[in-house]
Amino acid sequence: MFTARKAGPPRVRRTGIVALAAAGALAMLLSACTTATSVDQISESGTSDQSSSAAAPATSGSAATSDAGGDTTSGAAGDTKTLTIDSSFIVTSMDPSRAVTPTQSVATRAMYDTLLRTHGEDTTPEPSVAKSFDASDDAKTYTFHLRDDVTFADGSKLTSADVLFSLQRLAALKLGGSYLMDGLTVTAPDPATVVISSKDPKPAIPIIVTTPAFAILNSAMVKAAGGTDAKDAPEKDKADTWFNSHSAGSGPYILQSYKTDDSITLVRNDKYWGEDKGEFDRVVIRNMTAATQLLNVQRGKNEIALDLSATQSASLKGKDGVTVRTDPSSSVFRVQMNMDPKASTVAANPHIQAAVRYGINYDAIVQLGGEGAVQAAGIVPSTLPGALPASEAIHQDVAKAKAELAASGIDKPSLTMTYPSDINVNGLEFATLAQRVAADLQAIGFTIKLEAQPVATYLPEWVKGKTEMTLTYNYPDYMDSSYYSSFVPGTSSDSQRAGWNTDVPALSQLRDEINSTVDDAKRASLMQDLQRKFNENSPYIPLMQTAQTVVSTSNLTNVVLDPSWILDVAAIGTK
């Protein structure tokens, strides 16, 4: 019997409706997965999108939080004052003990204090958390006496236990800044005293403790977040993610939010103990390319651009509404040869090195650096005591270079010069300099092959000491010329990277004398002697010291570059 089918919509249309529903459900699932994941991650670890206002437990700050409802078109409070700093972001962690980068330094300076501190261009250590310090005659023991009125943002008192924890954790983590603690031990005989002892004389300790890696953390907060200063800290310390949404400092600002690769937002610490409380309620450090920084600073308000090149900032000279300030940077570009014949018999030849040294047109190199760039007479920048005067800089001498080439005994010498291709220093690309150096050397008889590599692939080969010839740069981790004593051959990493592993007694003796000399002026003089010896015979050929430009809207005052911290936002004001 034929049975009539139940009436209903045609099969095609039903299938279409189901297909549409399936497609929509899948699209929603994909979208929901990313959203739900982030929500789950926030509830599990309190991290990820860091737009929460859970920065500091007790202090709310005076600016808006992300819980502010309503139509906040100008921040939560109508008259919230915001300072905007545009920077080409380099932030790997908001934990000062794990990493120190230029962008992060600006935020760390605002959120944390150190035992001693520097102010602006003056690199002389001054009292901060420590009101005074004593140094032993042999420069092996430094005793710091702490103030009794320093408090963290949560109101708790800063004691020697916090300093001890912070420095021990820095050493234990064995990360970027940990090497600064090599050979140092820290003790806290009482709540107001910290003693730093060194195995060898280390007169640079007062300078070293002013650097970002030596930021003092609230030990109770960090321990509660999973931080530890024990020897197994590399495996057991779990506070790194916590620092992405919290700060544990005693500085004039606290962290409101950190959005990875996007922005760092700081709000005022109402419980700050110091005098420089900062004029701005809110500081936003934004990740912007240099081209966008150039436009923003001309259109913005209370705005600073940190990464404009000399050429870009030159276009702003004389323009209304912006202030351009150019200062010498502590970055020194150099050509580095290899002293190890096994790496390169050509590069290791002392006559070849001399030929390179006298074959380069240094004036042309400095021109490429733009306004404010100067020739580097030695590897120590002019921002530090111990730099060689400009009068001692080596100048191009083509005749001498050719004579040295002939004396090398190598016919048609060929060298491969490697350089990092994806970074720039103060707006200057390595490729530009490399091509100039290559052209100069080819004019006197060299064959130079240029090899550009991304930093990630450049560093491993360079660290091994196998690079024949390289164009590189250096920026000191602390503002004392003794930092550069690590360029002396022996066991130091800097000389190893140049394949310079054979001990040179005269240089080693000079290095030891530098490191044990307490008197700053004498130490600087010895450092100059060392550089003179380097200029006679070493793999290091200093080229140029760049200039750093900071551009700000003209209503801002006291926008001064700090060699260690880049900027001190608490010191910046308005007219």
Partner: protein
């Protein structure tokens, strides 16, 4: 009286779900997707290992001592044999754990949850602009075939494809932000504004959900320039594809019949011509969406947009292996989902196509 004769049909012994085409299609595609994703993890892992570089140095910096480098390798398991490293990654992946980014120190899942909505917001607006403008241009070009509107629109579409993205971005920034100050330059929100509380991660949507109209307006204004730049090349492609698809349909018999019957031209174009041309265009739209979602790195860099493109680029340059793997997987997933959705929509739009 007529006698009905029973017609015997062969018995289909397959399970009920197997007899129906759509569930069978979905099941096959899901199985294939799992295999494809697995293959992506293998390829990504091998490629990251093949890159000459050390993640330790990329993350610790040039001052890292040999002891620090060795310690980093040990803590992150980089000393283990490759099969062990891959196996560990796969086991974690099956538990929903994509690892921790070596750069951000956040779980990669959390990072994706943060960056994907930003790119999704940008991609959605870009695709809407591209579809509205591109399809519109394509239809107009086809309707005015071989006349001056057609030539003009084809030149415009070719320009959209040819113009370098970074150049267009900088020009638009200079004109609309610097010269005329009518649109903001860079980032997702003005620095003195606080982002809305996160629901979707898309500032415009979240602001609307919370009734924060000012925030919505500001976020939308920040979205316009990067979305237009991202849409520019897509507009060019869509114009050309739409024009071709419409031209294939417009001379069909049924269209001529519709005209002969006196239907309004608008009805003919939208109800008959465009409807028939859409399947081909939908495929392109789907792929464009996937491209835009996963390839916006240049636009994101210029406009300082904290999206997936920038995250992936940064991960690649710093050899952040967990992040690289996470981004690779997500990109693969996007293409799989988009292709699947497009295939389903094909069946919806064109009744002649059966899912078999």
């Amino acid at each position: 009286m007529t006698q009905q004769t029973a017609v015997s049909r062969p018995v289909d012994a397959r399970p009920a779900w197997h007899r129906r085409p759509l569930p069978r299609f979905v099941a096959k595609r899901l199985a294939a997707s799992v295999l494809i994703l697995f293959g992506i993890t293998v390829i990504s892992f091998l490629l990251t290992q093949a890159v000459p570089g050390d993640p330790a140095l990329a993350n610790l910096g040039q001052r890292a001592t040999p002891e620090q480098i060795a310690n980093y390798h040990r803590v992150h398991g980089l000393d283990d044999p490759l099969p062990v490293q891959y196996g560990r990654y796969l086991v974690n992946l099956l538990h929903g754990d994509l690892g921790v980014s070596q750069q951000t120190h956040n779980p990669v899942m959390a990072d994706l949850g943060s960056f994907v909505p930003a790119t999704l917001e940008l991609a959605l607006l870009a695709v809407v602009i591209a579809v509205l403008v591109g399809v519109g241009f394509g239809v107009l070009a086809a309707l005015y075939r071989d006349r001056w509107p057609d030539y003009l629109l084809r030149i415009v579409s070719l320009s959209g494809i040819s113009v370098p993205v970074f150049w267009l971005a900088l020009v638009l920034l200079y004109v609309f932000f610097y010269l005329w100050s009518i649109l903001p330059g860079g980032s997702r929100l003005d620095p003195d504004l606080v982002p809305p509380e996160k629901v979707t991660g898309m500032y415009t949507v979240d602001a609307l959900l919370h009734g924060q109209w000012g925030i919505f307006g500001n976020a939308f204004s920040h979205l316009i320039l990067p979305a237009v730049v991202l849409a520019a090349s897509s507009i060019g492609l869509l114009t050309r594809y739409t024009r071709t698809a419409v031209l294939e349909v417009i001379d069909q018999d049924y269209v001529r019949s519709a005209r002969a019957q006196g239907l309004p031209e608008r009805t003919i174009v939208f109800s008959h011509v465009l409807r028939a041309a859409l399947p081909a265009v939908i495929t392109v739209i789907g792929l464009l969406f996937a491209n835009v979602l996963t390839g916006a790195v240049l636009v994101e860099n210029i406009f300082s947009w904290p999206g997936l493109g920038r995250y992936g680029f940064h991960a690649a340059t710093t050899l952040d292996l967990p992040a690289i793997m996470g981004v690779s997987l997500f990109v693969a997933l996007v293409y799989l989902v988009v292709n699947f959705v497009v295939d389903l929509l094909y069946g919806v739009l064109d009744p002649r196509i059966r899912v078999t």
